[in-house]
């Protein structure tokens, strides 16, 4: 068993059938799911290495079950996540309500988790503007308010998909430096009685 080394955990959140799985599938396998695919094992977890500057960051992307019956368990999923891509369907206003719910949850429980709002199925809007149910500027305002990034993507055409994950990786990479330094500072003070301080003077 040689599991790939993963730097950051990224969870996909959002109402059922907003297109979470499709987004991951498009990003990782560069394809859009219509009709059956053979010879591929599921897309529930994928590790994907990205270049950020001269460094390589490996994201572990966690797809989640969207059905409401598992909602109570969602906290277990995003525990320890460094980024959450909260998806909503641009053609379904109720899905954006759910997105707000996830955001609140994350703010309460995972302060180190960065939030990325992602409106999906933008190709449908481009084909017919009247099907849009979630206004771009409303979401932008909300994003600014909570300090989140905001994207509109299409898994069908691939529009903006790479950008979302690239941004996640970049933020992680710059944040990781800060985070590590911060941890170090705390470390020296707190871990006085840790094993190493006691036993490592040789």
């Amino acid at each position: 068993m040689t599991a790939m080394r993963v730097d950051a955990k990224v969870v996909m959140l959002g109402k059922e059938s907003v297109g979470k799985t499709s987004l991951v599938e498009r990003y990782v396998h560069r394809r859009f799911l219509v009709g059956p695919y053979q010879n591929t094992i599921g897309a529930a977890f994928v590790a994907k290495a990205l270049n950020v500057g001269d460094k390589v960051v490996t994201l572990g992307i966690w797809d989640t079950a969207g059905s409401e019956r598992y909602e109570a368990m969602s906290r277990i999923y995003y525990r320890g996540a460094r980024a959450a891509i909260v998806c909503y369907d641009l053609t379904d206003s109720s899905s954006f309500k759910r997105a707000r719910f996830w955001v609140k949850e994350l703010q309460n429980c995972e302060e180190h988790c960065k939030i990325y709002l992602c409106g999906t199925k933008s190709d449908l809007i481009e084909a017919d503007r009247s099907v849009r149910q979630v206004d771009f500027h409303d979401v932008q305002d909300f994003a600014d308010e909570i300090g989140a990034q905001h994207f509109e993507t299409s898994s069908k055409t691939g529009k903006n998909v790479d950008e979302v994950f690239q941004k996640v990786a970049e933020d992680f990479s710059s944040c990781a430096l800060e985070f590590m330094q911060e941890e170090k500072g705390v470390d020296l003070g707190q871990k006085k009685d840790s094993y190493f301080d006691n036993c490592c003077h040789n």
Binding site: A3, R5, T40, I41, G42, A44, D63, S67, I76
Partner: protein
């Protein structure tokens, strides 16, 4: 086994029953053919021998370790000769471990005994033990050698609860039979020794850091020996602090690449947790065991949950799918047998891969998270894995967190946690049932499959659960018996009426004949003279008399 019981039923040679030591008492197969007294002596001797061997082995290992380091660092430092002046660390911790082994093993075997997932092995054993025991008791009474009831009971319980089924692989089991043998503990200490050797071998490739890693790991294990009273969370913190400190030091002080540090940390985890396992798995200070039992009961109570209720996208009619399902179930049960958190994780991952395969074959397209979680829930319900909560807690507490939190193993592990949480909270709503139905199914008043027609119910039942299918089988046998009984009753009744009729008809016939031929006693013409026996007493016949006159 079957052979023996067969023989017992038919014929027993007296000499076979006697104690192999030739002390004249009767022996018992469960005690390798010895009588209870000789067996106890043998057992003690073997244990004593084994403890000595272990000490010797530990000391030898210790010397080897030291020699290895002295030879690779002979120039660097002066090395105080340790092996004799002070009791070595390895020896000490081994001794400690052994003591706790004894203690925890009893608990876990008892637990195992009650867990349904160990049904295959232990279930068969106790009844047989029972019969053997009764046999034995009879023999003893014959011998006139009596033990108090309490004493026998205690001994029998020991016999039952020290079965090797929780430690050994199937092959070992068949080797050792049902004998509670010293080689059980032996087995685990051999494993510990092997892991220690592997660890040493691995560290030798690392030169100087290797020596320090070894020293600190051992010192850490020893320090943990004094912390038995800590809560599980505190124990976890100690171990996590150790991991953290060690990997920081490897990264910063020895400037290892992060891949290399990961590799080293995997080995450190393996070494440390193999040794600490017995004292920190399901520790007495936690309520893990209680939770294990609660979960187990809960899963058993949910036996009626169907694939359809959970929306599980697998079709077990397809051979490859049912094959994967069986493998997934086996893996999740196997997880309990591993000591190292990462090894346990590997089994969860392997289980998950089989699940993905089952879904992919059924749906003919890749599985997503929406398919995976319900299927995992279904597998957990079917497997009812032993000590599930203890295992989850143990992994959470003692696994190297970098693996657990982000990687693929972590993903599957998190899903398993979700599955367990779902099972705990599961209600009518989460299965799309009405609260009334849910209650009735939970209380066993109704079974969801009953509503279908009985034939289909029978068929699906046999697929769903072997116990259910057994019940169905028994039911049909019973109803068959009932039918036959009825036939017998009817037959008996008709026989009775027939008999009564026959009696009547015979009577009638007799009557008829009687009537037709009434009894007439004809007077027979008989020769009176011949019959006249008293003729002579008759007065003589009148004789003609001559009168002169």
């Amino acid at each position: 086994m079957s052979q023996r019981s067969e023989r017992r039923g038919i014929h027993v040679d007296q000499s076979e029953l006697l104690c192999k030591k030739g002390c004249g008492y009767y022996g018992n197969a469960a005690w390798q053919g010895l009588c209870s007294k000789c067996w106890r002596e043998e057992y003690q001797k073997a244990r004593q021998r084994q403890i000595q061997e272990d000490w010797a082995l530990a000391e030898k290992l210790q010397r080897e370790e030291e020699a290895a380091y002295v030879s690779s660092h002979s120039s660097s430092q002066t090395q105080p000769p340790q092996s004799h002046s002070q009791p070595s660390l390895a020896t000490f911790s081994k001794f400690e471990e052994k003591k706790t082994n004894e203690k925890t093993r009893k608990v876990t075997t008892v637990k195992k005994f009650f867990s349904p997932s160990s049904r295959t092995a232990p279930k068969k054993v106790p009844p047989e033990k029972e019969s053997e025991k009764r046999e034995k008791e009879k023999e003893e009474k014959l011998q006139g050698r009596r033990e108090s009831h309490g004493e026998t009971l205690l001994r029998d319980l020991k016999g039952i609860f020290t079965q090797p089924w929780d430690m050994g692989s199937p092959t070992e089991e068949s080797h050792e039979g049902k004998t509670p043998s010293p080689s059980i503990t032996r087995q685990s200490s051999i494993e510990t020794d092997r892991v220690s050797r592997d660890f040493l071998e691995f560290l030798k490739t690392l030169q100087k850091p290797g020596r320090e890693i070894h020293k600190q790991s051992r010192a850490f294990i020893e320090s943990m020996g004094n912390k038995k009273d800590l809560s599980a969370e505190e124990l976890s913190e100690c171990v996590q602090d150790f991991y953290q400190g060690m990997s920081d030091r490897l990264l910063n002080h020895f400037k290892g690449s992060s891949e290399k540090v990961d590799r080293v940390m995997d080995q450190v985890e393996k070494y440390i947790m193999t040794r600490l396992y017995k004292s920190v798995f399901c520790p007495e200070t936690s309520d893990d065991e209680k939770k294990d039992l609660a979960t187990q009961r809960r899963i058993r109570a949910l036996h009626w949950v169907t694939i359809q209720m959970l929306c599980v996208p697998v079709d077990e009619e397809i051979p490859e799918v049912s094959d994967s399902v069986v493998k997934a179930i086996t893996d999740i049960i196997e997880m309990d047998s591993k000591r190292v958190p990462r090894d346990k994780l590997a089994f969860i991952t392997s289980c998950s891969k089989h699940i993905f395969n089952a879904i992919r074959v059924t749906k003919n397209e890749p599985a997503s998270a929406d398919d995976f979680l319900p299927t995992l829930i279904y597998i957990v319900l079917k497997a009812n894995p032993p000590r599930l909560q203890s295992n989850i807690q143990y992994i959470t507490r003692f696994c190297n967190p970098s693996r657990l939190m982000t990687g693929e193993d972590g993903y599957y592990f998190t899903n398993l946690c979700c599955a367990v949480a779902f099972i705990e909270k599961l209600d009518a709503h989460s299965l799309n049932l009405s609260p009334e139905d849910f209650e009735r199914y939970m209380s066993g008043q109704a079974s969801p499959r009953r509503q279908d027609d009985p034939a289909a119910w029978l068929q699906s039942g046999s697929r769903v659960n072997p116990a259910l299918s057994q019940i169905h089988h028994n039911l049909s046998v019973l109803s068959n018996l009932e039918k036959r009984q009825q036939q017998v009753m009817e037959g008996a009744q008709s026989l009775q009426t027939e008999l009564a009729e026959w009696q009547d008809s015979v009577a009638r016939e007799v009557q008829e004949i009687l009537e037709r031929y009434p009894l007439e006693i004809k007077s027979r013409a008989s020769a009176i003279d011949a019959e006249n026996v008293e003729n002579d007493r008759l007065p003589p016949p009148l004789q003609p008399q001559v009168f002169a006159g």
